[in-house]
């Protein structure tokens, strides 16, 4: 299996989004300019976790067989294969935009999920929005390829609010990082 070139991830993340993405993405871009641009990857642990995610090829899990690509407010949306928490899409945000009143953490853990529309595995950054109280809408617990906490780079129980003003967990995003293979 080809290992992911993590050094290109930062560059990829700073690239403009393709034009075909929606109006909501335009809002997200604006949001990203208003807060500090997500510094990614920053920590050595993040390189390790991206490598992990690429290594554990997510073929044929129970989740991936039932996943859908239409509704980002449902727990079985394809990107949420490893999400644990409240979907930001149900809290006034989106899959890559925190609701007003919260801030995206620059750190996250990384999983990989299969998109049923193209059968490709993508790296997904499960990034927490921090600062407001727990949103309590659309609580999902998907654990595909989630690792124990002693392997934190792939663990969804850590509160990933390092680097923000607050450790108060509000909701979780599923930001598309790139192809896993």
């Amino acid at each position: 299996m080809k290992r992911l070139d993590v050094d290109n991830l930062g560059e990829r993340l700073t690239r403009r989004l393709a034009g075909r993405l929606s109006r909501r993405s335009a809002l997200a871009r604006l949001g990203a300019l208003l807060v500090a641009a997500p510094a990614f990857p920053l920590l050595p642990v993040q390189r390790a976790r991206a490598a992990d995610a690429a290594q554990s090829k997510p073929k044929g899990t129970d989740f991936s067989r039932a996943a859908q690509t239409h509704d980002d407010k449902a727990c079985n949306y394809w990107r949420y294969c490893g999400i644990d928490g409240n979907l930001c899409s149900c809290c006034g945000g989106s899959m890559h935009s925190c609701p007003p009143g919260s801030q995206p953490s620059p750190t996250s853990w990384i999983g990989s999920c299969i998109n049923p529309d193209d059968d490709r595995a993508y790296l997904i950054a499960y990034r927490d929005c921090c600062g407001a109280k727990e949103c309590n809408h659309c609580s999902c617990l998907n654990t595909d390829h989630a690792m124990p906490i002693y392997r934190p780079q792939a663990n969804n129980h850590v509160i990933w609010c390092f680097g923000t003003q607050s450790f108060e967990y509000h909701c979780s995003m599923a930001v598309l990082v790139g192809l896993a293979q």
């Binding site: 997200a28 039932a66 727990c75 006034g92 995206p104 998109n115 990034r127 600062g131 809408h137």
Partner: protein
Amino acid sequence: MKRIAHEAAKAAASVGALLIAAALGATVWSTARAAGAAAPPVLQSETAGVTPFAGLTPHELTYSTMDGLTGGGIRIIDGDTAKLVASVYSSQYANFAWAPDHRTLYVSETYWTLGNRGTREDVLSIYGGPTLSNEGEITLPGRLISDPKTHTFALSSDGRYGYDYSFQPAPAVTVIDLHSRKVAASVEIPGCGLVFPFGERGFASLCADGSLAVADVDAQGKYTVRRTKRFFDVMHDPVMDESVADGRSGLAFFVTYDGWVHPVQLADTPRFEKAWSLEQAAGMSAATSRGGQITWRPGGQVPFAYQRSRHRLFALMHEGPPWSFEKPGSEIWVLDARSHRLLHRWDVPESAYLVAVTADAHPLLFALSQSWLWVMDPDSGAVLRATQILTPGLVRVRGE
């Protein structure tokens, strides 16, 4: 195989959610595969940001969650979609108010350095900017800590001053200059409580003997407090903490446990108008606290809302005995506050503890139970939409 059944239920639920999402114009992500076409393009990487907040819209409701277990927090729900729009952190027992720009949120709250112990800090926290983020705090000399009460915190109608009721246990009102972000004065109001701002810098408080305290300020910023006459009988039929007051016009409706509405034009010399009865407005006898009479009575947690433009008073009403002023309403009564006539009696789907009405030309009526928000048409009583909420404490809508 329970697992299979569970998955099927999830799939069905997601179809439902999809229909709702589509109906509300939510963005639907799909990389639909063109039949027989080339492989779909690889999805592009995304950046993470914060959804901008352009200000509270006329149909948005802001509510704080009830204290105790949920431990505070403020949430904004769009009445047009019944969806959560934004959330702001707060301590438990917080109060809050929007600046006239509808973008700046002030939160009156109390923290201890070690959760329930350590050093106490009473602050007015400021949220705003493009993403409703924290913009600092103003330290307060003290605050009342109690179950939610609307009139423990308010702004002057121009948004220049904040007024925070303090009880330590000596009662006082802290006046905060929101331009300089400093406490301007601490005004003692012995024997009185709560704060109802009027005019440019004045405020009134309700007093334990049935009178009002009226505070006015001179050019040097010095406050003088005077008492009015007693206008209600506090031992037998006190006016409720959760009466309504329109800060813009200075018109207050102080409503008693028995449903007597005392209209008062707040001013340096308040004008007391003749009291009228909610029950008489409905063609019934006036309620009384004597003899265990079972009749329709106002009650709940925030039982009244006032729509200035149409002079309409909304009241949560229930059938009950005396001293049942905290029982939730099975009906919302819509009253004309000028003619003292009952216009409508609307059923609510579940007994409601709080009521609110928007101030715009096409108003929405909100009824809140312990766990549901019902969005209603104030003119037809129709339930337009609903959403589950955390137990609500206080509500605020945009003033116009």
